[in-house]
């Protein structure tokens, strides 16, 4: 899993809370949409029919997050990573590793979706082990994007209401 692919995992790592319909007043949603495309967010996330299924789907994120929490997720993403958005690193017996979003695990096996959007299942008897990653899935964009750019992205994400 390369760095960019987990870029926005933390955004969807926000808790599924009923959000008040308040959006960043100063953000430009159209510019935010362009930024989401140009900064590689969709290498991990999916919005509508576009983007990766590896990370959390953002198609209705505007219904589930306040602008404040969207902004917090971009600036300090490790503050809130939902358990269902955790990643897992599986160490195979040949020494290689497979990373992906954790889908399930039990005493005998672990399931994930990998960077190629493949649903994969490993028997614990056939691997060296696995590690669940609870932090560090998304870098902070503080200092990498301007305050205005972040507001633009927040405005765009806040406008995403799903397909209703």
């Amino acid at each position: 899993m390369n760095f960019r692919m987990v870029t926005l995992a933390g955004v969807a790592g926000l808790v599924a809370m009923a959000a008040a319909p308040l959006f960043a007043q100063s953000g430009d949603g159209a510019k935010g949409k362009e930024l989401v495309s140009s900064t590689g967010c969709l290498n991990c996330h999916r919005i509508g029919d576009t983007g990766s299924r590896m990370g959390p789907n953002l198609s209705d994120i505007g219904d589930r997050r306040t602008p404040e929490r969207l902004q917090s997720a971009i600036v300090t993403p490790d503050e809130e990573v939902l358990p269902e958005n955790r990643f897992v690193s599986v160490e195979l017996k040949d020494g290689t590793t497979v990373r992906g979003r954790l889908l399930n695990h039990d005493a005998m096996s672990v399931q994930l979706i990998d960077a190629k959007e493949q649903l994969r299942s490993f028997q614990t008897a056939n691997i060296r082990g696995y590690t669940i990653l609870t932090k560090g899935l998304m870098p902070s964009f503080q200092g990498k994007l301007s305050a205005q750019q972040i507001s633009d992205i927040v405005a765009y994400l806040g406008s995403l209401k799903g397909s209703q």
Binding site: V15, M17, A18, P83, E84, L102, H105, D106, A107, A125
Partner: protein
């Protein structure tokens, strides 16, 4: 059929652990005899079973270990060790186990019943029907239906199992009936109301038959109805004795352990089967939490006999001794675990003990003849107890005593370090095995105490918060429930395990870890196999010596009952419930 010769092996070892062979040579001898027994005699025995004048006498239950082809009580015998002498299945061939049959009742509740098996016939119960089936094929001989009114169900319509005496089965129904059923025909002998569910009672315990009495008690699901253990005549259902587990009058000495008149609604339910020691004619029962369960502000004192083990004379119900695991409980730590009776070496001397892994997170060893506290040691992460005094009374952490309002974080959480799940003790390994929840803590709600109303909740718990306010998960008080969904949980956030404990020290010997918690009972055998399962749906066989996984199958639903083993026509079976179905396994033909 040379039953005496076979049984003689056990009788030679009768001074140790209820007559189980305890060395390898005795076990090998026993296995050889058993194979002869099964080859020559079991088939005609099964065929002749219908003509036996009395299927299961007191003497047979007393010597249950000598007929390991059967499973005669909830705990596999009066000692409740859930330890079988059968050895056809062993560490080398367990990997070859195959599914032989499945039985689906018409009800979808999680099946918690432990079946009993007598001469090739398996009896079990679920919701509103009890059945007799061919233990080798799962084919039904008869079904007895008793429609339990759904409105009597305050929680989950679970039944822990049946008991048998003579030719009669006993079913304690959720709505308070005790029913005697003819084991050959499935027709009721009698049907007595022993508690009124409208008054906040339920029956879900598997009864225990001792001599001519069937012993059980009611539960109250946080409704403040004072409970008891009672014995009923196996022939008529007439009540013979009753021992109240909470006071019934202010004149009783134990009412002084409840402030004011709080004793009137003290609860202290019975919902898991007890054990019996024939040498002292004592029956042992664990009792549940006091009411209101999460707020003890109005019931200052120890609140006897909540969260205790009570040792009762089996003929009279008179109390011999008690030990209270959690005085003045405010965390819902029912002590309704199964008392496991073992004869072990203790500090170099033989001692008759009781082994008990409690919901409060501590493993106890008690002298079962006196109730003397011998050992108390945490077997999971805990934060409520800072030690014991010389008498074995727990010293509570001042951070949690008195319990603050709201939702203080407590370890273990409400479901406990273990719960009602039957443990096992193997005299061969000398280890105690228990289904465990570790690294498990949660906010323990504490809210206002409701005004008691007959048949209503009386819990003192904090209101359940909506999912959104609890951070996406429903929860009480401070929120949180049982942590992240199991699919994403880390070991630090809690896990289930089958844990082997050395009774001599209380120390863990090994773990078989699961991701999810487990509600499964544990079964061990003389060939050092251990069977158990969990909420993940796995049912597995382990090496009882070290916890190594030998075999596993995914049954697709919670394994919550206690696995059993038995033998029919020379073939050893293992039966286990998962979700609402019962499965039978054996080696291939």
């Amino acid at each position: 059929m040379n039953v005496k010769r076979v049984c003689g092996v056990c009788r030679d070892a009768a001074t140790y652990s209820f007559g189980f062979p305890h060395n390898n040579q005795q076990i090998r001898n026993f296995g050889m005899h058993l194979r002869k027994l099964t080859a020559r005699a079991l088939m005609p025995l099964v065929m002749a079973a219908a003509s036996l004048p009395a299927q299961v006498t007191y003497d047979r239950i007393l010597n249950a270990s000598q007929e390991p082809q059967n499973w005669l009580t909830y705990g596999g015998g009066y000692s409740s060790m859930r330890y079988s002498m059968l050895t056809q299945l062993n560490r080398n061939n367990a990997r070859d186990l195959k599914l032989k049959w499945v039985w689906h009742p018409k009800y979808l509740e999680k099946m918690e019943a432990t079946p009993i098996v007598v001469n090739g016939v398996l009896y079990t119960v679920q919701n509103s029907e009890a059945v007799a089936m061919d233990a080798a094929t799962g084919r039904i001989f008869w079904t007895f239906r008793y429609a339990v009114p759904p409105e009597s169900n305050q929680y989950v319509m679970v039944v822990k199992g049946l008991a048998i005496s003579g030719d009669s089965l006993f079913w304690a129904t959720y709505d308070g009936h005790l029913i005697s059923i003819d084991a050959k025909t499935g027709i009721a002998n009698w049907n007595k109301v022993v508690v009124d569910w409208h008054k906040g009672y339920q029956l879900n315990v598997a009864p225990l038959v001792v001599k001519d009495k069937v012993i059980l008690g009611p539960a109250t699901n946080e409704e403040g109805s004072n409970c008891w253990v009672a014995a009923y005549d196996v022939k008529t259902g007439k009540e013979i004795w009753r021992f109240y587990t909470a006071p019934m009058s202010a004149d009783e000495a134990i009412s002084k352990t409840w402030a004011g008149e709080s004793w009137k609604h003290g609860g202290s339910p019975i919902w898991v089967t007890g054990s019996y020691d024939p040498e002292t004619n004592t029956t042992f029962w664990g009792t549940g939490n006091p009411n209101a369960g999460w707020n003890g502000d109005n019931r200052a004192g120890d609140n006897l006999y909540s969260d205790c083990v009570v040792a009762l004379d089996a003929d009279t119900g008179k109390l011999k001794w008690h030990y209270q695991f959690t005085p003045h409980d405010e965390f819902d730590w029912d002590s309704v675990q199964v008392p496991v009776l073992a004869d072990i070496q203790w500090k170099g001397q033989p001692r008759k003990v009781m082994l008990w892994a409690n919901r409060n997170g501590f493993f106890y060893v008690l002298d079962r003849t006196t109730g003397q506290f011998l050992l108390g040691k945490a077997f999971v992460k805990q934060n409520w107890n800072v030690g014991f005094d010389e008498a074995g009374r727990p010293i509570k952490s001042p951070a949690l005593n008195p319990k603050p309002m709201g939702g203080p974080y407590v370890e273990p959480g409400t479901q406990g370090g273990t719960n009602w799940y039957s443990p096992s003790f193997s005299p061969h390994t000398g280890l105690f095995y228990v289904s465990t929840w570790d690294n498990y803590g949660a906010p323990s709600g504490k809210g206002d105490i409701q005004v008691w109303k007959e048949g209503g909740k009386y819990s003192g718990n904090a209101p359940r918060r909506p999912a959104a306010a609890a951070g996406g998960r429903g929860g009480r008080g401070g929120g949180g429930g049982r942590g992240p969904a199991v699919a994403y949980r880390t070991e630090e956030e809690g896990y289930g395990a089958v844990r082997a404990i050395d009774p001599q020290t209380g120390e863990k010997k090994w773990d078989f870890k699961m991701v999810d918690y487990t509600e499964s009972g544990v079964l061990t055998t003389a060939s050092d196999l251990l069977f158990s399962g969990g909420k993940e749906g796995n049912f597995f066989a382990l090496d009882a010596r070290n916890g190594q996984l030998l075999w596993n199958t995914n049954l697709g639903g919670t394994v919550a009952g206690g696995p059993i083993t038995y033998e029919v026509n020379g073939r050893q079976y293992v039966a286990v419930a998962a979700d609402s179905a019962l499965y039978g396994f054996a080696l291939p033909d």
